[in-house]
Amino acid sequence: MKFYIPPQLTRLSIAFAIFITLFLLLRKLLIPDTFGQYGHYRGDSLTDNALPVVHYAGQQACLECHQDIEDQKQADVHSRIKCETCHGPGQKHSESAEATNILKPDSREFCGNCHEKNAARRSEAVVQIIINEHNTGKKCIECHNPHQPWTMKE
């Protein structure tokens, strides 16, 4: 007996085969190579996210040149504060040591960010002053050396 395939089924299976091929082709084109390498995401994205430039160089980079200031700092209560906490991002400065690409904040408001009296600041954690009453009209650094706050300048 001859095996009989109805003509409509032949046409349908051809259409189906074309559809499947197209689907697989599109799938291959649209899905990035590394998708699914580690999970349901593009594996290359991990390297992409590691690319951005570092702005904060880290304490170690500062110490290469400024060990003297670190020694000063270690002798007083600001010992645990990193250079970049006040001086801002230092990567550029560590590459080309110009004074222009590092911050030297000297405003009363800047010191007040930590030292202004606030009920939420624990008195044992940080020394606090009422910024509008404490030696108004003078900059903090006129009396206090920020690296050694209890060594008065006068």
Partner: protein
Amino acid sequence: MDNERVKPSRRKFLKSAVTIAGAAIGYQWLKSGQYLLYGADPEDKNVPWYGIVIDIEKCIGCGSCAKSCKMENDVPKEPFFFRNWVEQYTVKNDGSVEITSPNGGIDGFKQTVPDEEIFKSFFVPKMCNHCYKSPCEQVCPVGATYLSPEGVVMVDDKYCIGCRYCVQACPYGCRFIHPERKVASKCTLCYHRLKKNLAPACMEVCPTGARMYGNLRDKNSEIVKFLKEHTTQVLRPNLNTGSKLYYNALGMEVK
């Protein structure tokens, strides 16, 4: 015997089926409580599994963390785009709570309630919780948000379609749509710094050491030691997000 409604063999089958189903559901339920064990499933010991600790008792609300994050990660300067920020909670004597966060704490805090009305006040620094069962990852329709092998939740900038679904899904409000790139943006725990063995910018600059990050898989790490010695809490534990940001001395007022 034949007129019994349920045959003994079928009864036996039903019994075992119910037992197995119950055990499976029970197992799933127990598994979902894993956040108590800090989500550290030590599958691959070569890769760290990062967790974060923030000590409320040490935070003095200087805003250095928020400021450094904006500088390190080129976050837009407008006061409504933040990858991390600080909030001041003030509980008044009448029991009401006032929460302020002027520019995320970057310009410092001004006490808004007079001393005599305050019952207590404290700062709460907020950032991405790097949940290991994160809602934002689950809702992403294209697989552009993911949990890296190190346990850091990140966004694939090239793959994100900017549909904002994840921004709504995050119960901690830690995501935003970048106004220029039109993709979701969030804390990456400074992944680019971690890869270079540098601490995340916010941890680097914190003057009081209120922030700490570390490997939860390493049972001798500083962070695991801290977690052993202190009673810590995550934000919204009821949502079971598997948050890996642990707060020490977190007040119940914190949302």
